[in-house]
Symmetry: C2
Subunit: 337 residues, 2 copies
């Protein structure tokens, strides 16, 4: 057991299968003696005027206070007059970089072997500005906003990540041949930062070409950094290479060192409450959270237990072709600890 | 030999390997007795003020007059004050739909078997509006424009294509959960057109999810229709599934029945003039052009000869792992006719 004072972390179990996979994390953290105390918050049942969404102000305050959190899938409630839960978190907590490691799981076969990619997505602006309007009837426009500040910030994060994680190359993904001003500014900022990291190889790749090369040979890439929408697209593409969003962790980095880890898959209401869900994405996200907190030993231990359990193949959930329940899979991971 | 009066078609051999692969088309058309007379046009060496690009007004007039053309790769000259050649063609000829069939080539192995997809891309607006400006220092914006007219037009083309080509399903690709107004209008138009084609299944798929599903299981899709940038991205991704842009045809459809077929790969200056280029993409594009002209027998004949030559594997260019020259590969196709 650990001698550190426990750290408080916010936990959003989320909707659908969220509570079951969050339970899996809690059990495994307990079995591994991780010195974390969870502060649980749920999506509210009415709009909080302070957040303009179903997320309560208190839950956001909890992440701000703790500086770190873990989030299950959240189903944005149907209806009008409120903001998406994901976007509220990103904007309110200023979660400027979304980091998604994507690597082949040993023993789980897909068409691709040895994938090992990191996508780093600008998470606050670009095509997600929310600025849209009708010019005249039948003509609408959306604004893509790129700022020097946000571009430098995410580029700096990407190069720093590459350096501290022993990664040799950063590729900036863009469409500056068409969007010369916006993507052009993004590239300019990446170049500026690249100069401060002469030991990291830097390249620029047009998004269409990047997607083609990723499906042909993902080994061509290492760390990829890009504006918001390209990150949305490419991180999902990369997840597809290794089996899907049920297997990939995600960590959002905010100003002031805030970190919110999250499973990016859906809430799967069809299997909710049936003890069938695969907790891998949330578990690996919790591992990313531990690394962010510098609990690297615990992170290594838990990650190995997850990967070994999947590799052995005896306990796998249905989405991976097995027939284990969430709790049996979780128990198997605990046994590996 | 054929008894029809010859049809005139414009040919842009293009730059780099363009003239060599265009020669391949010319030889094969001659060998197959295709009743087409080529009217050749080259990219000019200075800016034509009437087109604001290196494309001459006469060459655009040629396509307008003939109604049909074939285009090799064009390297946009370096420098300022002119428009990209591809964009000039799309805008000046109002090439509103870009159709890219993408199918596995028998005998040429990639990670994917039996791919059979058609991407239909809106080709005139969206993120390609060219409207960009700096708001204040360090803050830039690009405008994405979606119009009802262009969306209905491409949706209509997609459903008509599906119907006349025996395809059962059209998927509209979008990010309307974020760009509610622009992509929302695009979807609304697709839905309107879908109602007129009750025999075609219609679905809407978010672009990030679409990319994930395409790499996991491309058989989930059939015809995909989408705004400009998504089409740019997804058509390249699809090309990657079957081996790359060297193997996929492309046909642009314009108002008034104009059709411009094109190879969408680059001009490969490194191997230009060396008799090493693979003419497959331009050849298959010329087949698309023949189908557009209702020369279906000739199209079938030539397409089979190309696919059989590749399938046999005796004559393949270096990019497909062989060691044939462009001319030997071309001769092998002629022998198959
Ligand atoms: C749910 C949606 C708003 C979100 C996004 O587009 O960012 C999701 O796709 C993601 O990647 O987290
Ligand atoms: C060269 C470039 C402007 C073009 C595009 O973005 O449309 C190309 O990628 C294509 O798909 O034809």
């Amino acid at each position: 057991s650990s001698d550190s004072t426990p750290i408080r972390a916010t936990l959003f179990p989320g909707d659908g299968i969220g509570p079951e996979i969050a339970d899996s994390v809690k059990q495994i953290f307990k079995a591994a003696d991780v010195p974390i105390e969870w502060e649980e918050h749920y999506v509210g049942d009415q709009i909080d005027p302070r957040t303009q969404s179903f997320l309560t102000w208190e839950s956001l305050e909890s992440v701000r206070r703790n500086g770190v959190g873990l989030k299950g899938p959240m189903a944005t409630p149907i209806g009008k007059g409120h903001r998406s839960l994901n976007l509220t978190l990103r904007k309110e907590l200023n979660l400027y970089a979304n980091v998604r490691p994507c690597y082949s799981l040993p023993g789980y076969k897909t068409r691709y072997d040895g994938v090992n990619l990191i996508t780093i997505r600008e998470n606050t602006e670009g095509e997600y500005s929310g600025l849209e309007h009708q010019v005249v009837r039948g003509v609408v426009e959306s604004l893509k906003i790129i700022t020097r500040q946000a571009s430098l910030r995410v580029a700096e994060y990407a190069f720093h990540y590459a350096k501290t994680n022993g990664r040799g190359r950063v590729s900036a993904i863009h469409k500056a041949n068409i969007m010369q001003k916006t993507d052009g500014l993004f590239l300019k900022c990446c170049r500026e930062v690249a100069e401060k990291y002469p030991e990291i190889k830097y390249e620029e790749v047009v998004i269409d070409n990047c997607c083609m090369m990723l499906v042909k040979n993902p080994a061509l890439f290492d760390v990829l950094v890009m504006p918001n929408l390209y990150g949305d697209i490419i991180s999902d593409l990369c997840a597809g290479l290794i089996g899907g969003l049920g297997l990939t962790p995600s960590l959002n980095i905010g100003e002031g060192g805030i970190a919110l880890a999250e499973a990016v898959h859906g809430s799967a209401p069809d299997i909710a409450g049936k003890n069938l869900a695969n907790p891998t994405a949330l578990l690996l996200s919790s591992v990313s959270m531990l690394r962010h907190l510098n609990f690297n030993d615990k992170a290594d231990q838990i990650q190995s237990a997850i990967l070994n359990t999947i590799a052995e193949g005896k306990y796998r959930t249905a989405d991976l072709g097995g027939s284990s329940s969430t709790t049996d899979f979780t128990k198997a991971i605990c046994d590996h600890l």
